[in-house]
């Protein structure tokens, strides 16, 4: 992945055990380092820290019927029907930024694209269109980096993300 020019993100403080990994493009690394004014690097560090440590992430895998209340609290979304494309959500300040990418193996997320949701929504007529356009873009970048290697697939949520996860679409 280093040969593809990707950078491995480290948490703000060293972890006794790092359960997940996050690899990003140099542009996204700049964003997470706070070099973009509309991005809260403090909040970004926290979301990344929680993700890397394997701590609880709230996950949604269904596009339809996603309740408004839940949508505000989701950390990770799978773009349903878009070819194993996942989104890491940094929601503060609202509506926040989205890191879009794919998993190369369990708990190893490759973020290939980032956008300010507020700006992004001005370009598309609805969220579904935005997801379709952006996921196609991510798959094209993935193919340019990894060729025919498919994105990681698993039977259940833990198989995808590892660590502690909560599927917010699931009734408990």
């Amino acid at each position: 992945m280093r040969r593809a020019g990707l950078i491995r993100r480290d948490p703000l403080r060293p972890l006794p055990e790092q359960v997940r990994e996050l690899w990003v493009t140099p542009e996204i690394a700049n964003l997470l380092d706070g070099k973009v004014t509309t991005f809260s690097s403090c909040e970004g560090d926290l979301v990344v820290g929680r993700f890397l440590s394997g701590q609880l992430v709230q996950v949604s895998r269904l596009a339809k019927d996603r309740k408004r209340r839940q949508a505000k609290l989701i950390d990770v979304e799978e773009l349903e029907g878009c070819g194993n494309v996942w989104v890491l959500c940094i929601r503060v300040p609202k509506p926040g930024w989205r890191l879009v990418g794919r998993l190369i193996q369990q708990g190893v997320f490759i973020a290939l694209l980032a956008f300010d949701k507020h700006e992004e929504m001005k370009k598309h007529k609805d969220v579904a269109t935005m997801c379709r356009v952006r996921s196609a873009e991510v798959i094209a970048i993935w193919n340019s980096f990894f060729g025919p290697q498919p994105a990681h697939s698993a039977a259940d949520l833990e198989g995808f993300l590892g660590g502690v996860c909560r599927d917010v679409d699931e009734a408990i």
Partner: protein, 147 residues
């Protein structure tokens, strides 16, 4: 969790430590709940009943990955899930470990007193009701070799 834009690197670390600690508790309890759901068909309703509150309240506690819980909430959850809670702190500069009764001291053992052969220590057996995870050995082996 709302975090104000930080002014200094130190402020960033403070906000980060707050968020991580909050998340730590929610994550720990959710790990226990998930395990029990898988093994014993445990439901949030069971937890709510034990605490004498509504299920929606319990659900709300876990609707945010980094909730700012009161210590009483943490204690209640530990009680309801029958968990013994152990808290320790590590000095980031010296590595010293602290628990509520003071600093944890480590005993230095001379390698001369260690056995030269392999010794074996058995781990306590799991309760009958608890299914043994796949791949877990029947006993834990501790190998000691003298220098």
């Amino acid at each position: 969790m709302w975090t104000k834009r930080s002014k200094t690197k130190d402020d960033d670390l403070r906000q980060y430590d707050r968020g991580m600690l909050r998340s730590h508790f929610a994550s720990l309890f959710w790990a226990v709940i998930s395990d029990r759901r898988r093994l014993h068909k445990f439901k949030l309703q069971n937890l709510a009943d034990r605490l004498g509150i509504g299920k929606s309240q319990v659900s709300k506690w876990f609707s945010n990955a980094a909730p700012n819980w009161r210590t009483d909430t943490i204690a209640d959850l530990a009680w309801a899930l029958n968990l013994e809670f152990r808290v320790q702190a590590i000095d980031r500069e010296t590595g010293a470990v602290y628990i509520a009764s003071g600093r944890v001291t480590t005993q230095v053992v001379s390698t001369d007193s260690l056995p030269t052969s392999v010794s074996e220590v058995s781990a306590p057996p799991l309760p009958e009701s608890m299914p043994r995870p796949k791949g877990l050995p029947n006993k834990t082996e501790v190998r000691l070799e003298a220098a």
